[in-house]
C-alpha cells in the first residue's frame, strides 16, 4: 500500500501540473449554443433588417424581444408608429392603463415616456442591424445593399419625423448628432444614391418573390414624403419635388383597388387577411408582412384589429360573434368624436350601427365605425371605457374570397400592413399641386381625389380646398398611423388653430405648444453630442 501511495502522489502531482496549464485555456470558450452562429448568414441578416418592421424579436409573437424596457408586443414598429401618430391627434383615443397611453391621449409626453423610448429604440436598433449588414455584406449584391440602405433611410426618416434631430452613425459606433435639416439632407442624398440600384417599380402580390421588399417606387414614396413635409423639417417647402415623385409613382404599374369582392368593398379589401393575395395588393407599394402561422406579432396588424375591437363588434353580418376574425379583442383604441365628424358633419350617425352598416348611412365605404352601445362624444376621455367613442372596424382577418372566410390562424392574422399605398401618392400630388395653385386643387389633383372618393362610393366635387384635402387625408388614411404628420404640415397640431376633443387633456380641447410637434429624445440617450429637443430640457 505504501508503495502504491508513493507512486500515486508524484503521478497525481504531475497530472495536476499538466491540468493547471491546460485548464486555463478552457477559459477561451467557443459557444456551444446551437442558436448562436459565429458566422453570418447573409440572407438571415437581410431578413432581420426587414423583419424589424414586423417582428418583436427572433422568435415570433411569443418569442424574445430585440428591445429592452418594454413588453415585447408594445415595442412593435408599427404599433408605436401608430400610437405616436394617432393617439396624439383628433383620430384616436385609448383608455388602457399602460404607462404612456394617457400621456399620448393628452399630449403630455416627455423624455421618460416608455412607448416613445421603445419607438426610438426600435428605430435605432433597426439602423444598427442595417449598419451590420452593410459592414459585412455591402459588396455582395448591389440591389440588396441598396434595399438595406433604403430601410436605414426609412428608419432615419421616421426617427427624424418623430424626434427632430437624431443620433447618427453609419457604423457601430458612438453616434454623432445631426439636426433635422442635416439628417433631411442625408436621407435625400442617400435615397437618390440608391435609386438606380433598386428593383424597378412593379405592382406585385405575395406570390412574387419581391413582395414585401422595397423597389424604386418605395424610394420615390419616401422621397415624396420627405419633400412633402420639407417645410416642417427644414423650413423650405418642396411642393414641386413632392408632386414630381408622386407622379412617378402614380405613373408606375401600381393601381388603386377599385373592385370589391364577395360583399367586401374595394376599400375594405386593403385591410383584410388576403390583402397580399387579392387585387388589393396592386395598391401596395411596400408591405409589412404578417402571417398567422409563420410571421406573428402582437405589434403589427394584430394590434390594429385587436386594439380596436371588442366582442360586440362584428366585421360582417354573415358571421355574428365572429368579431374581427381573430380570437383577439382588446377593446382599447376607438375614434375621437372629430374623426366620426369628418364623415358625419351633422353628427347624425346612426346610434346602433355595426361596422359594416355605417358606410351606408355615411354614403362612404370608408366609414367603418361601430356605434351600437357607444357614445359619439368621448365624454370621459382617457378615463372613459371602450364605449366612450365609436369603434373602428377597419382592420380585420377575414378574406375577400368569401363572406366568412377567416385567416389561416384563429389568433394571429394574415393581414399585411400597407406601409406605403398608392392613395398616398394621389393625395400628396393633389395637395402639393394645390399648394402651388392658390390652395385649390388643380384639375389633375381633383381627379385624383375623386378617384379615391369614387372608389369609396361617395360623391365627388370639382374642386377641393386645402382644409378639405386635410379632411380627405383623414377619411382615406385614418387609423393607418400618419395623422400627426398631416396635422403638423397644416399647422394644426401644436398651437391653437385647431382643437379636437381632449386635445392637450381638456375635454373641449386645449392648445399646446408647437414644441410638442416633436417628441422628446429619451432621457437616457441625451449624452455626448445628443441634444434634447426644445421644451423638454
Amino acid at each position: 500500500m505504501k508503495r502504491f501511495i508513493q507512486n500515486i502522489i508524484p503521478a497525481a502531482a504531475l497530472t495536476l501540473l499538466f491540468g493547471m496549464t491546460s485548464c486555463t485555456k478552457d477559459l477561451d470558450v467557443t459557444p456551444i449554443d446551437p442558436n448562436l452562429s459565429l458566422e453570418v448568414n447573409y440572407d438571415g441578416l437581410f431578413n432581420k433588417c426587414y423583419g424589424n418592421m414586423a417582428l418583436q424579436g427572433n422568435g415570433g409573437a411569443n418569442g424574445d424581444c430585440d428591445i429592452d424596457g418594454l413588453d415585447g408586443g408594445t415595442t412593435g414598429f408599427i404599433r408605436q408608429m401608430w400610437n405616436s401618430n394617432e393617439l396624439t391627434t383628433d383620430e384616436a383615443i385609448c383608455s388602457w392603463g399602460d404607462d404612456g397611453i394617457q400621456q399620448f391621449d393628452y399630449n403630455s409626453y416627455d423624455a421618460s415616456h416608455p412607448m416613445l423610448n421603445g419607438y426610438f429604440n426600435r428605430l435605432t436598433t433597426g439602423i444598427s442591424y442595417c449598419n451590420e449588414y452593410l459592414r459585412v455584406a455591402s459588396e455582395r449584391d448591389a440591389q440588396k445593399t441598396a434595399e438595406i440602405r433604403f430601410l436605414r433611410a426609412l428608419d432615419y426618416y421616421l426617427l427624424m419625423d418623430a424626434f427632430g434631430g437624431v443620433p447618427f452613425s453609419e457604423t457601430l459606433a458612438t453616434p454623432s448628432y445631426k439636426t433635422r435639416p442635416e439628417i433631411y439632407a442625408w436621407i435625400e442624398s442617400e435615397l437618390k444614391a440608391i435609386e438606380p440600384a433598386m428593383a424597378d417599380a412593379r405592382a406585385k402580390n405575395s406570390s412574387d418573390f419581391m413582395y414585401g421588399r422595397a423597389d424604386k417606387a418605395a424610394v420615390w414614396m419616401l422621397l415624396m414624403r420627405l419633400y412633402f413635409n420639407a417645410e416642417v423639417y427644414t423650413g423650405t417647402a418642396q411642393w414641386e419635388k413632392a408632386a414630381e415623385y408622386a407622379k412617378k409613382v402614380i405613373d408606375s404599374s401600381y393601381q388603386l383597388n377599385t373592385t370589391g369582392a364577395n360583399g367586401w368593398s374595394a376599400y375594405q379589401m386593403l385591410f383584410m387577411g388576403d390583402n397580399g393575395e387579392s387585387s388589393a395588393a396592386n395598391e401596395c407599394i411596400f408591405a409589412v408582412l404578417c402571417d398567422g402561422k409563420k410571421t406573428t406579432s402582437w405589434g403589427t396588424s394584430l394590434f390594429l384589429m385587436a386594439s380596436t375591437y371588442d366582442t360586440d363588434m362584428d366585421a360582417t353580418a354573415d358571421d355574428p360573434g365572429g368579431n374581427n376574425g381573430t380570437s383577439e379583442k382588446w377593446a382599447g383604441n376607438r375614434a375621437r368624436y372629430d374623426l366620426v365628424h369628418k364623415f358625419f358633419p351633422n353628427d347624425n350617425a346612426p346610434t346602433d350601427a355595426q361596422g359594416y352598416q355605417m358606410k351606408v348611412a355615411a354614403g362612404d365605404d370608408r366609414a367603418l365605425f361601430f356605434s351600437k352601445g357607444h357614445t359619439l362624444r368621448n365624454e370621459l376621455g382617457y378615463f372613459g371605457d371602450f364605449k366612450d367613442g365609436y369603434g373602428v372596424a377597419k382592420f380585420i382577418n377575414y378574406k375577400s374570397t368569401g363572406a366568412v372566410v377567416k385567416g389561416s390562424d384563429a389568433q394571429f392574422p394574415d393581414t399585411d400592413f400597407f406601409f406605403f399605398r398608392l392613395a398616398e401618392a394621389y393625395l400628396t400630388y393633389a395637395e402639393a399641386t394645390a399648394r402651388l395653385n392658390g390652395d385649390q386643387t388643380t384639375p389633375e389633383g381633383t381627379e385624383l381625389i375623386n378617384a379615391l372618393r369614387t372608389r369609396a362610393n361617395t360623391e365627388t366635387k370639382t374642386v377641393y380646398t386645402l382644409s378639405q384635402i386635410l379632411d380627405e387625408w383623414s377619411r382615406e388614411f385614418y387609423f393607418e398611423g400618419r395623422r400627426r404628420v398631416d396635422l403638423i404640415r397644416h399647422g394644426k397640431f401644436g398651437g391653437s388653430s385647431y382643437k379636437w376633443m381632449w386635445k392637450g387633456g381638456a375635454k373641449e380641447g386645449r392648445s399646446f405648444s408647437a414644441n410638442l410637434n416633436i417628441f422628446a429624445i429619451p432621457a437616457d440617450q441625451v449624452k455626448g453630442e445628443i441634444k434634447q429637443n426644445l421644451g423638454y430640457e
Partner: protein, 1022 residues
C-alpha cells in the same frame, strides 16, 4: 476528523469535590450498569465513562452500554465529543442522556478549503447544527436555517410543495446580478440554477442527512471563494459514519396534515347579486348574466393536505471503514389541489482512514429522484375574482342559456366565460373569452403539469499527510453535480389557457458541473509562540447546461380542415457552459495563542469575461483578549475576542438569460431565429440572423467588506454573544442598463456601472438559563439590522431619473419599484394619495409633489422598500426528563408590501365589474368602501397601497417525548427513540391586512398560500 477534546468545567470540579466528600461515607463498591444515548434517543458508542477522582474508566459499547465498578454514590462523568459531559451518582443502573453541545460542535468550524478551531477564527462565520427536535416542516434544507442565523434572511417563495426560497446573506450585494449565496455541499460548489422539478440546489439534499451548516459572511471568510464570495457562502457538511461503531439502524418518520390558514374575503353569490343590482340595475345586461348558484371558488381549489416523510439510516464501521447509508422518502401534498411533491433520496458516505491515519478519504454519493405535480397557481387569483353566482359546471343565467349552441361540452364540462370562436370548426361555435377570469377548477383539472428530476452529487475528498513530513497535507477534491429534470405539461383542449388546440409537450434541463480542487496545507509551530498554517491550491470547474423543449397543440378531430393535425409544433434546443479556473492561498499566523492574522488571496479566471482574470484578497486580525494576563483573573468572562476584517470579493453570476447568452457576453456572434412563427420570408425561408450584442469590457462586480466583530462568553459560556458590524461597498455593479443608440445592437446591455452600500449589525446571543441533569433549557436569539443604499447610478441614468426594476410589473408595462441614488434598492416609487378632510382617500387624486400644476409621472416619490430593516429570530428548547419542548419565533420589521390585491381588485367601476367581454368579476367584501373607479396609474400605483408588513411569526412549536428500552425483552435492549408533535407556521402577528405579510419582493399578488401544518413524528433506533 473529529478528535477527543477535554473540556474542563470548574463547576463540575466542585461536584467532584463534593462527590469525594460523599464517597468517604460510602465505601461499598457496586457494579454500575449504564446506558448512554443522545437526546434523540440514539445510542452513543465510544463515550468515555470515568469515576471521578479515580483511574477507573471505560467506554460504552456498540449499544451504548457500559459496566464499571464504583463506590455507591460516587460521581461518574460521561463525556463524548460534541456533547456536554454529564455527571451522575453511581447506582446499579443508570440511564444517561447527553445533550448536544453547540459550543463544542463549533469548536471546529468548516471554512473554505479546510477547517479551523472556532477559537482561532478571524472572520465572521456562523456554524449551525440543525435542531433535530424543533424543526417544523422541513422539506428543503434551507427551511432549517430560517430565523436561525444573524445576517441570513430566508423567505420561502410561497406554499408550493417542495418550493424554493430566497436566501439573502447581509442583504445581498447586487442590483441586477444574482444575490444568491454560493452553496458548497461537501466541498462541491453548486451553481444556482435549478433544473426542472428542483427549486434550487439545496432541494436535492435530504435535510436529515445534514450534519452542519456553516455560513461565511464577511470577506475575510468568503474571499477564498473569490468571484463568487460577495453574497456569502453556505457550506453544508453531511453526516458520516463513526469509527469503531457497530451497525446501527435508525428510522425517522412523520405524518403532516396541512391546511389553508385563511382566504381572501370576497363576496358570496348573494352579496354579489346585490352588488350588480345596485351598480348596474336589474334591467342591465350584467344582471342578466348573473347565475343562480352560490359558489365559494376558494373552497373548491383548496384541500386538507396529508404528507408523510420516512428516513432510514444505517451507520457503522467495518474495520477502518466508517460508513453511513441513508434512504429517505418524502411525499408532500400541497393544499392547492393537484399539487404534490414526492422525493426519494439516497446517500452513501464512506470515510476510511488508511496508512496510520495518514490517508483519509471521504467519499460521498447522493442521489435523488423527485416527482413534482404542479398546480396552476393562477387558480389562486382566479378563485378570488371568479363570479360566485356561477355554477362551476353549468350555465345557469338566462343570458347564457339564450346563446345558441353554448354548452359546457367544449370546456370539459366546466363553466367558462364564452365568446364567439374563430376556429372554423362547427363543433366549436364558442370559446373561452381570454380576457375574462378562467374557471379555477378547470385550470387545475384541465392541466397536467409534472416534473421528474434526477440528481446526483458525488464527491471524493482525499487527504494525505505526507509520511515523515506530517506537517504537510495534500488534499484533493473531485466533485460532480449532475442533474436532469423533465417537465411534462399537458393542457387539454378544454384548458382555458390553451383552449381548442390544447398544448402538450415537455422541457428537459440537464446540467453537469465538474470540479477539481487540490491544495496543500502546511502547519508549523516555531518556538512556542508562533503558529503557521499555510495553504495553497488550485481549482478547475466546468458548468455545463442544456435545455430541450418540445411543445405542440393538437387540432381537434372535428376541425374540417386539418382534423387531428399538429398545431404550432415547436422544438427548441439550447446549450451553454462556462469555466472557472482559480488559484488560491491562505495563511494563518497565531502569536502566543492570542494574536491572529489571516490573509487569503484568490486569483479567479472566468470564461464569462474577455479579460479572464481578477484578484480577490482579504486580511483579518483577531485578538483573544481573555488570554491576556489582565483578564486571567476575570473569571466570569470565559471568552472575549475582537475580530477585524477587510476583503474584496466578486460577483459574476448573472440571471440566466438564453436570449442574451450570459456565458458568452464578450463574444461577437449572431442569434439564429427560433420557433415556427418568427420567419420574415423576404429572401430564402425567412430565417433571421440577428447581430448579437457583446461587450469585451465586462468584468466582475467587486464588493469590499469591512467587518468588526466581538465574541464573548460569560460564566463558562452559559451566556455567549457575538456582535458584528459591517460595511459592504459594491462597485462596478453589473447593471442591465441603457446604451447610447447605434453604438450597440441592443438598447440595453450589461455594463459595470453604479455603486451600492450595505451596512449592518448582527447580534447572536446564546443563553442557558437552566442546566441540570433533569432540566435543561437553552435560548438562542439573533438580531440583524441591514441598511441598503444605492450610492451611484451614473451611466444607468444620466439625468438622475429613477431606474425601474423591471421584474415587478403591474399590467403590461407599469413598474412599481425603482432604483435611485440615496434610496434602498427596489424602493416603491408611487404617487402620493390625496385625502379629503375626513381622511378618506379621494379617487384618482394625487398630490402634485413638484408643484408644476399638473399630475405627471414626475410627481411620484420614493416611499419605503420591501426589505426589512431589522430581522430577529428566537428559539427556545427545554428538556425536562424525557420531555422536550421547543419553539421558534421570527420577526421582521419595516418590510413594506404593495397590496396589489386591493389595488387590483377594489375597482368598483361597473365597467370593470362587468367588463366589455361580457364577464363578471368578483370583488372583495370591503371593495365597496374603497370606492375606486379607475385603473389609472394615479389611482393604482399610489402610496395608500404600500403597507408596513412587519410581522412576528411563530414558525413552529414542538412537544416531544423520548423513550428507551421500549419492548425490551431477553437480550434485546428494546427500542429507543422519540415521539413528537409539531405545529408549523403556527401564528403571525402583523398589522398587514393581506393574507401573509412575508413576501419576497414586496409585491403581494395572490401567491400560493403557506399552510399551517400539524406534524406527528417518531424516531427510533433498532
Amino acid at each position: 476528523m473529529m478528535k477527543q477534546v477535554n473540556i474542563h468545567f470548574p463547576l463540575r470540579m466542585l461536584g467532584l469535590i463534593l462527590g469525594l466528600f460523599l464517597s468517604v461515607s460510602a465505601f461499598a463498591q457496586i457494579d454500575v450498569k449504564g446506558h448512554v444515548k443522545d437526546a434523540a434517543g440514539e445510542d452513543i458508542i465510544g463515550a468515555t465513562v470515568r469515576v471521578d477522582g479515580t483511574q477507573t474508566a471505560t467506554v460504552t459499547d456498540f449499544e451504548g452500554n457500559f459496566v464499571l465498578k464504583a463506590n455507591e454514590g460516587a460521581n461518574i462523568t460521561i463525556s463524548y465529543i460534541g456533547y456536554q459531559a454529564v455527571t451522575v451518582k453511581a447506582a446499579p443502573t443508570v440511564e444517561v442522556i447527553l445533550q448536544d453541545d453547540q459550543t463544542v460542535l463549533q469548536d471546529v468550524v468548516v471554512i473554505g478549503y479546510g477547517a479551523v478551531k472556532k477559537s482561532d477564527l478571524t472572520g465572521s462565520v456562523t456554524a449551525l447544527k440543525p435542531d433535530s427536535k424543533n424543526k417544523g416542516l422541513v422539506v428543503n434544507p434551507q427551511d432549517m436555517l430560517a430565523g436561525k442565523v444573524a445576517g441570513v434572511n430566508i423567505t420561502s417563495n410561497d406554499g408550493t410543495p417542495g418550493g424554493g426560497a430566497q436566501i439573502r446573506v447581509r442583504g445581498g450585494s447586487s442590483l441586477n446580478a444574482s444575490n444568491d449565496p454560493l452553496i458548497v455541499i461537501d466541498g462541491v460548489a453548486m451553481d444556482n440554477n435549478g433544473v426542472k422539478g428542483l427549486a434550487n440546489p439545496l432541494s436535492m439534499i435530504n435535510p436529515q442527512d445534514i450534519e452542519s451548516f456553516n455560513v461565511l459572511k464577511d470577506a475575510s471568510a468568503t474571499a477564498i471563494y473569490g468571484s463568487r464570495g460577495s453574497n456569502g457562502v453556505i457550506i453544508i457538511t453531511t453526516k458520516k459514519g463513526r469509527k469503531g461503531s457497530a451497525p446501527q439502524v435508525s428510522y425517522a418518520g412523520s405524518l403532516t396534515i396541512s391546511q389553508k390558514k385563511k382566504t381572501l374575503d370576497v363576496m358570496d353569490g348573494d352579496q354579489f347579486r346585490n352588488l350588480i343590482k345596485d351598480i348596474c340595475g336589474t334591467e342591465s345586461e350584467a344582471y342578466s348574466v348573473l347565475g343562480t348558484a352560490n359558489t365559494d371558488w376558494q373552497d373548491l381549489i383548496y384541500r386538507t393536505a396529508i404528507s408523510h416523510d420516512h428516513n432510514v439510516t444505517l451507520a457503522g464501521a467495518v474495520g477502518n471503514l466508517p460508513y453511513r447509508v441513508s434512504v429517505g422518502y418524502t411525499d408532500q401534498q400541497g393544499i392547492l389541489k393537484t399539487s404534490d411533491f414526492k422525493r426519494v433520496t439516497g446517500a452513501i458516505n464512506l470515510s476510511p482512514s488508511l496508512l496510520d491515519d495518514h490517508l483519509t478519504l471521504n467519499l460521498n454519493a447522493k442521489g435523488m429522484y423527485s416527482f413534482s405535480q404542479y398546480a396552476d397557481a393562477g387558480a389562486v387569483g382566479a378563485a378570488t375574482s371568479m363570479d360566485p353566482t356561477q355554477d362551476p359546471y353549468a350555465y345557469t343565467s338566462e343570458y347564457h342559456k339564450a346563446m345558441a349552441g353554448l354548452t359546457t361540452d367544449n370546456f370539459g364540462g366546466y363553466f367558462e366565460w364564452p365568446t364567439g370562436a374563430a376556429f372554423g370548426d362547427p363543433a366549436w361555435p364558442w370559446t373561452y373569452e381570454r380576457n375574462a377570469t378562467k374557471n379555477p377548477v378547470a385550470m387545475l383539472n384541465e392541466k397536467d403539469d409534472r416534473a421528474h428530476s434526477r440528481a446526483f452529487i458525488g464527491s471524493a475528498d482525499i487527504d494525505y499527510k505526507i509520511h515523515g513530513f506530517e506537517d504537510l497535507r495534500l488534499h484533493l477534491t473531485l466533485g460532480a453535480d449532475i442533474s436532469k429534470g423533465r417537465q411534462f405539461t399537458d393542457h387539454t383542449s378544454a384548458s382555458p389557457s390553451n383552449i381548442y388546440y390544447g398544448n402538450h409537450g415537455w422541457e428537459q434541463i440537464t446540467k453537469r458541473n465538474l470540479q477539481l480542487s487540490a491544495y496543500a496545507q502546511y502547519y508549523k509551530d516555531f518556538g512556542k509562540i508562533h503558529h503557521f498554517d499555510i495553504m495553497g491550491g488550485y481549482e478547475w470547474q466546468n458548468f455545463w447546461r442544456s435545455k430541450i423543449n418540445n411543445y405542440w397543440g393538437a387540432i381537434p378531430n372535428t376541425n374540417p380542415e386539418n382534423p387531428g393535425g399538429f398545431y404550432n409544433w415547436n422544438l427548441y434546443k439550447y446549450r451553454t457552459e462556462n469555466y472557472l479556473v482559480s488559484f488560491f492561498g491562505r495563511m494563518n499566523y497565531t502569536l502566543m495563542d492570542r494574536y491572529m492574522l489571516t490573509a487569503t488571496v484568490r486569483d479567479d479566471g472566468s470564461s464569462r469575461f474577455q479579460d479572464h482574470w481578477a484578484l480577490f484578497p482579504s486580511v483579518a486580525l483577531a485578538w483573544k483578549i481573555n488570554e491576556e494576563a489582565f483578564m486571567k483573573n476575570v473569571s466570569a468572562v470565559s471568552d472575549l475576542k475582537l475580530r477585524l476584517g477587510w476583503g474584496k470579493t466578486g460577483q459574476q453570476e448573472l440571471p440566466s438569460d438564453e436570449n442574451l447568452s450570459v456565458d458568452y457576453l464578450w463574444i461577437p456572434s449572431y442569434d439564429i431565429s427560433t420557433g415556427t412563427n418568427g420567419y420574415y420570408p423576404v429572401t430564402g425561408d425567412g430565417t433571421l440572423y440577428r447581430p448579437k450584442n457583446y461587450s469585451p469590457d465586462l468584468k466582475w462586480e467587486t464588493t469590499t467588506t469591512y467587518n468588526i466583530g466581538l465574541d464573548f462568553g460569560l460564566f463558562n459560556q452559559r451566556f455567549t454573544a457575538s456582535i458584528d458590524a459591517y460595511l459592504r461597498k459594491t462597485t462596478d455593479l453589473l447593471n442591465y442598463a441603457p446604451i447610447a443608440a447605434l453604438s450597440s445592437y441592443r438598447n440595453q446591455f450589461w455594463q459595470n456601472i453604479g455603486d451600492m452600500e450595505n451596512k449592518g449589525i448582527e447580534v447572536t446571543l446564546g443563553f442557558k438559563p437552566i442546566q441540570t441533569n433533569d432540566f435543561y433549557w437553552t435560548v438562542d436569539y439573533n438580531f440583524t439590522y441591514n441598511h441598503n443604499e444605492i450610492t451611484d447610478l451614473s451611466g444607468v441614468t444620466t439625468d438622475g431619473s429613477p431606474v425601474p426594476n423591471t421584474s415587478v410589473k403591474i399590467g403590461t408595462d407599469k413598474y412599481l419599484q425603482y432604483n435611485q441614488v440615496g434610496y434602498p434598492m427596489n424602493s416603491f416609487y408611487v404617487y402620493q394619495q390625496a385625502y379629503d378632510k375626513n381622511g378618506n382617500a379621494i379617487e384618482n387624486a394625487v398630490v402634485d409633489r413638484n408643484g408644476d400644476g399638473q399630475i405627471t409621472p414626475d410627481d411620484r416619490y420614493f416611499y419605503k422598500k420591501p426589505a426589512p430593516d431589522v430581522t430577529m429570530g428566537l428559539s427556545s428548547r427545554m428538556e425536562y426528563k424525557n420531555f422536550d419542548f421547543g419553539f421558534s419565533l421570527r420577526a421582521s420589521f419595516n418590510n413594506y408590501v404593495f397590496d396589489n390585491i386591493s389595488a387590483g381588485m377594489t375597482n368598483m367601476n361597473p365597467n370593470e365589474v362587468y367588463n366589455s367581454f361580457h364577464a363578471l368579476n368578483n370583488r372583495p367584501v370591503n371593495a365597496k368602501s374603497e370606492g375606486r373607479y379607475t385603473y389609472a396609474v394615479t389611482a393604482q400605483i399610489v402610496d395608500r397601497y404600500v403597507h408596513n408588513a412587519s410581522f412576528l411569526k411563530c414558525d413552529n412549536i414542538t412537544l416531544g417525548y423520548s423513550f428507551a428500552d421500549l419492548f425490551k425483552c431477553g437480550n434485546w435492549h428494546g427500542l429507543a427513540g422519540r415521539v413528537y408533535g409539531t405545529v408549523s407556521n403556527v401564528f403571525t402577528i402583523t398589522n398587514y391586512d393581506g393574507l401573509d405579510p412575508e413576501i419576497n419582493n414586496g409585491y403581494d399578488n395572490q401567491m400560493y398560500p403557506r399552510p399551517i401544518s400539524f406534524i406527528f413524528g417518531v424516531n427510533f433506533n433498532l
